[in-house]
Symmetry: D4
Subunit: 252 residues, 8 copies
């Protein structure tokens, strides 16, 4: 955050020119820290209920660690997604609490484990190969204060596998369905429950699956009306939104 901006806001507040509500809002919206290659957005925690996650892909270890240091000072829980074990080594030198999750290639700091949800978040996959993306979603939802249950390898070619989990599905507040190939599982799950379903297409597939596009199209064209979709392999986004759906809400 640019200090002179903050001073302006505060002096306006002191002079009675800004109400206290406006002052809060301005500070929240102005608050980022410019470290050259990135503007670290501390205000987002206040605005969205969670610190900015670090997308590891396309950033150097130095950049990741630089941003991480700024975030970890203020937020109990931090995620680094799409990274590798070398970066994890560097990150651990900054904070030994950091955990390495091999399957989704994700670093997590989780110092606050309060349950913030009204119910449970369920994450299920169509196949074994979809597990890494599903774990990204599940670990994110946990870090944002949710109880999470996992259902792996329950694709539609053996429909009894998902039908056998009907009760657990129907007791969830929100369901994340991770599937590659034809992406049919969200439609089937969506038809079994009366809560929101978030479909995550994965790039798992062969031939004309086009790196997940077939699954993406399948989910977008779902005949179940309670299915929304995130980008291919975007487990983080699914876990993030599911957390917001599961949050307690009180009208202002």
């Amino acid at each position: 955050m640019n200090p002179s901006n903050l001073e302006n806001v505060l002096s306006q507040f002191q002079a009675g020119e800004l109400s206290s509500a406006d002052t809060v809002a301005r500070i929240q919206n102005l608050s980022y820290e410019d470290i050259g290659y990135a503007r670290v957005d501390h205000g987002r925690a206040a605005r969205q209920g969670f610190p900015e996650v670090i997308f590891g892909q396309g950033k150097t270890s130095e950049q990741i660690c630089g941003i991480f240091e700024k975030l970890v000072e203020r937020s109990p829980n931090v995620l680094i997604t799409r990274t590798n074990e070398d970066v994890y080594g560097d990150v651990r030198n900054i904070l030994t609490d950091a955990e390495w999750h091999e399957s989704p290639r994700l670093v997590r700091v989780m110092r606050d484990t309060t349950d913030l949800g009204v119910g449970e978040v369920t994450v299920c996959t169509a196949g074994t190969s979809d597990i890494p993306v599903a774990e990204e979603a599940a670990l994110t939802a946990e870090a944002m204060g949710n109880r999470v249950q996992r259902i792996w390898d329950a694709g539609v070619a053996g429909i009894h596998r998902i039908l056998g989990e009907r009760e657990r599905l129907q007791a969830s507040r929100v369901i994340i369905v991770v599937a590659g190939m034809e992406g049919a599982l969200p439609s089937v799950v969506g038809g079994l429950v009366s809560v929101p379903v978030i479909g995550v297409p994965t790039s798992v597939g062969y031939g004309a699956s086009f790196g997940g596009v077939a699954a993406l199209l399948g989910m977008l064209n779902s005949c179940s009306s309670n299915v929304t979709v995130v980008n291919i392999d975007n487990g983080f986004g699914a876990g993030f939104t599911a957390s917001l759906i599961n949050r307690k809400f009180t009208e202002p």
Copy 2:
């Protein structure tokens, strides 16, 4: 629903072979009515909290009316989407309560107006031409028991238009953002709030917008992590899911 199937379930229940919970579940899942060209799914109301909407597109007026008659006997609120005024004429002969909404080309029966939500659903559009799709979303959410506020024509080329609505946005439980062209508005809105945002790409656009694909891709690649997406022009799906997000939830 096939009567003999129901008899079977009931006699098993009477004989003590099925618990009462199982009996309820089976009846819910088996209950549809086969009228030849369609299996009218009365069970869906129990499973999903809403009767099956009739997608008008690709069905004859006779088919629509046949299905409508079955649904309207049991459900207070019914929607027919993507239809036309001629069908509305036929539908009105069955039920005079039916309302015609010109802009989204939708018939609505709304005999129950109980508020079922914990907060408000906001629907906003980037441009004037996105209003028909947005109205489909808003009318659906209202029919499912939600208070709905509308913000029209607040696209990112004049960013002050959406910023001026920040307070209303931040007070919503869930936000539907309808946009064509580059589909950038959900990212901006998503960054301003800490609730789920549902993006609806519209087929409004010119040249390389490819009937909404550009907007769809824009939303799928949103840099705001609380954005999920439905199919192009699928206002109904957005309104439906927003309603489920806004529902009061009690863990079973």
Copy 3:
């Protein structure tokens, strides 16, 4: 067929230069009739077990009638697909036996109703709007000597609808599944049975369904290994191949 070609073959046969097997093969392969704008392929009945169907789309009524006259002289059963009622009027002037099928827009002559199959061909659809394509498949299979059972509107969003038909499905020799939108039904059906399933994507759909491409990709990427696919809306091809699968086979 060019008469001089036939004479050559026959005189070679008479002279002992060709075995009788070779003579049969040559006649089968050479037999077509050149009527200027088309080479009517009478040999195909012998080669494939069915006369050449007339694809009506892109042909004038004159061309269709010209070809029809040649075919109907020799084949008891003839189909004209993708045509219209005007053409049917002209065709009826040639042969009053011709039937008009409104939903698939198809003319059928069916003077031979012998059952040639070892079992039953089942045709099922995901939705009401898929029925025209499914009827094209069913009428074709009937014309080629099959018993056909129809299951309409059993899509995966209400999975109990198709599960309720499990027994009929499992008793079939071959199953045709017609579906638009996400095209998930063939995968579910494929997982329930141990016979070949032919998926027919339809152009029914909205938004990013791309005229059936989403359904096509869904079926190509099916996680059930007994699913093969034909082109979008190609009910005829599905009915044709299903008939060949259902045929009695004796090794030569």
Copy 4:
């Protein structure tokens, strides 16, 4: 399979609450074994006439071996597709009967060689580079109890090569045609025979072949009506479906 589920079914059966037919069906449908990362589907052999094949791609050697151990206890014939020689090494430690097939990169256990077909399955390729995919199809069909004949490198640019095999083609019960580039061979073969033809597009090609999409489109648009298609490079699916077509069938 969840043992308590099975007990339930059996006790219901003993109590006369379930017919013996229903009991069989339930056991078939419920029978999978949950080993954490996968639900091994022993019921599929009963439902589809073959154990679940293991797709090696995207799975670790540990996962493959874990699933393999479960399958090999009950099924005489097992396939691992799209794997590598290292996995084969690990698999051989479990079962020395396992064979390694270099060209299709496939492990096969084949302890039962009974002929289950009514005729012969023919597999042919357009070019030399299509052989690996074709071998996957041929080895699958053999493992499922079929006699298989192979015809390699008979593409349409030298049309006499496939015409010279006309007799062998016409004596087959079902034909698999594997082709890259323009994918024209299935159309030509389809026109020569009166049995089903399964087209397998391969990713062999250059320039605007788009990894097999050109061949896929060619086959989907085939002017021969007896051609159905599987996904690009999906030799396994073609071999699997061809086996089901070649099976003896007795109506229940």
Copy 5:
């Protein structure tokens, strides 16, 4: 042509500043006539051996007639492609020699019928519906001084139809093959002859033919090395290039 430009060139020539060869080249290259909405290119006849054809599509009848009047003064043979009978009416008022060709929707003036070729141009089609495009090619080639033979409806599903024409094909100097659907015919023809083959994909097709893209890709990926391709439905371009191939050539 701008007269003052011509004067400049001529006066330079007279002054000995330009060689006669240079003078010829300059006049050829500078010669167009600016009529406001178009620059009529009289030089092209000299540069390419044929006057500019008028593409009717996207031009008003006034524009077409305006250009036509300029061209017809100097060229014995003129074509207007992709036009309609109303335009033909207007054109006939300018020149009664103009012929109307219904199938390709083309106007032709052909006042010079000298044979300029070293051999024959063959045009063949896969189906009846490809004839309009093929006629555009054939009429163009005739107008450019070629003998043309036509072979209609000889697609690969009945391979004997094209094999029966092998002799005529092998005697041609250049072959144009017009095909929709999978576009396989050019590959087969290309393999039968040792002359150039020009493939013309047509937009004839259904489902995943994508308005001719499937056929286009098929031809681009042809396994016969003597096949080159023009744009979808571009019969004119094929006829034009075939004429240039068939021209007598004397090295300068």
Copy 6:
């Protein structure tokens, strides 16, 4: 503009809480007028040097006229693009100064004709059919205070046509090149001059031009580094940006 917002700004200004520069900025940014279906953006003229143009496509005549009335009160020059003559009739009832331009289907009010540019804007087209899009660009640039010269029908197949205009091109401040088909003209023009070139692909074309995508890709991949691109058929955007490039600029 929300009056209470304006009052706030003004009272803050009066109280000395806002500098006069800040007051100007705020008023510019806040100033839009909410008329229900649209937020008319009067501030844009100040921010961008031109009032909001009305895109006619997808709006009713009532909506267009409603917006038009608001704009025309304050701006001397107004454009309505992609509209039709009926709308023009309604618009003329509001303001008789409005001109109708048939070729680009555009209404223009041009009451201020001051020359605001440092040089000339040149608009050229590859073909006759590209003129409507080019006129949209030219009329826009004129309305924004530029001298415009037009060069029509100078495509690369007759390269001397564009070379003959080299001098006029080299004297321009900025050049708009409008082309369909392969979109090659911007590359050639770009190589001849040392000023910015704006490429406008048009949807003019046949076969695999895909509604302008081929031209768009051609321009994006231009080997001339001074070429930037706008959307297909977006003459308005090209004229708008060219005007900004041609503007006199004084550093603040």
Copy 7:
């Protein structure tokens, strides 16, 4: 070639059952050699004027050498395209005459250098990076008996570079133009000459060039009517067809 097939043909000939012309044709068409993984097509030289080239890509060195040995016994000139230096090492052990061409990664045997053409084949490129593909074309054309001239790096961004070669271009019998990026050069060259132009798009490019698709579309949509196209990077096909165009032709 299957010897017994040949014997049959010859004995029929001897018996007077086949004319000598028919005998020649049959021998040409039947003559291939089945070596297991490939059917080496010796007849193609007779049918097409050149032995089958070996596409190296996707074949093992053993397969390449096996085919090479068969071809080199009968044909003076042989090409192996898309291969590598290791294969060249193996090939040289078979025939020391083989030359290695680094840039196009091609092995050539050229023992016959007779000039078979009526004129010259010109190959030109837009850029330096297009040279490898252009060399493949040029080396092929030379191996097929043509004089070849090369013009490198003459793209349209500096239009004077190709204009400076106008005379050489206009003296050619056929021109191959190799270009990546926007693929505009064939249109410009096509407009300068009155001979056939073969466009070869290359995969050279950045961003939205899509591996040569942008160039391919550019060439397919060429506004010059004498341009035909081959697949991306298919220098061989261009060289092959250019040779056939340049051949002396005598009508049979």
Copy 8:
């Protein structure tokens, strides 16, 4: 440049056959140097105000150095884009002034630092990963004589980050906006300013971003009319055109 060509021009000039203006033009247009694999275009500096940049990608180090030597003799500032540190090593042996820029992988020689612009060029990015492309643009603009300001990591998900830079943006003569993912930043920036904005889509992204296509489409469909676009990752082109926009212009 071909010396004899130059002699011709000069002797014509001396003879009074060419005016001095024409002589200048001809020399500028003819001046390139043919070094075999490339035609080094010294005339471009005169025609476009900058020497030809060397695109390193797809060229060998030898080719790059060969071209570099020719350019560096005459131009004070030279760029080599998309290259690597090994090439830089070779280049430094030729000229020690050459600088290596790691992030954009670019070599720059900058011996002339005169300010040629009327204002400032601003380059901003949406994220940290877009910096390499943005640096390519910034370094290019500097080398062409511009003052450049950089704004990094100001994407729309935290809209206050770009709004905080409004003043700097509004003071620029031209703005380059570099963004991956949904590509929304140019629309927002475009709406804040009244100068031209050049959008550069980057290939940074995940899932359905398709290597930058999503961002490209977003920018092409921008609702801000002052946005033009260059190819994906084409920082050089953006910097080049921005320089031309920022140039002082005097009408000839």
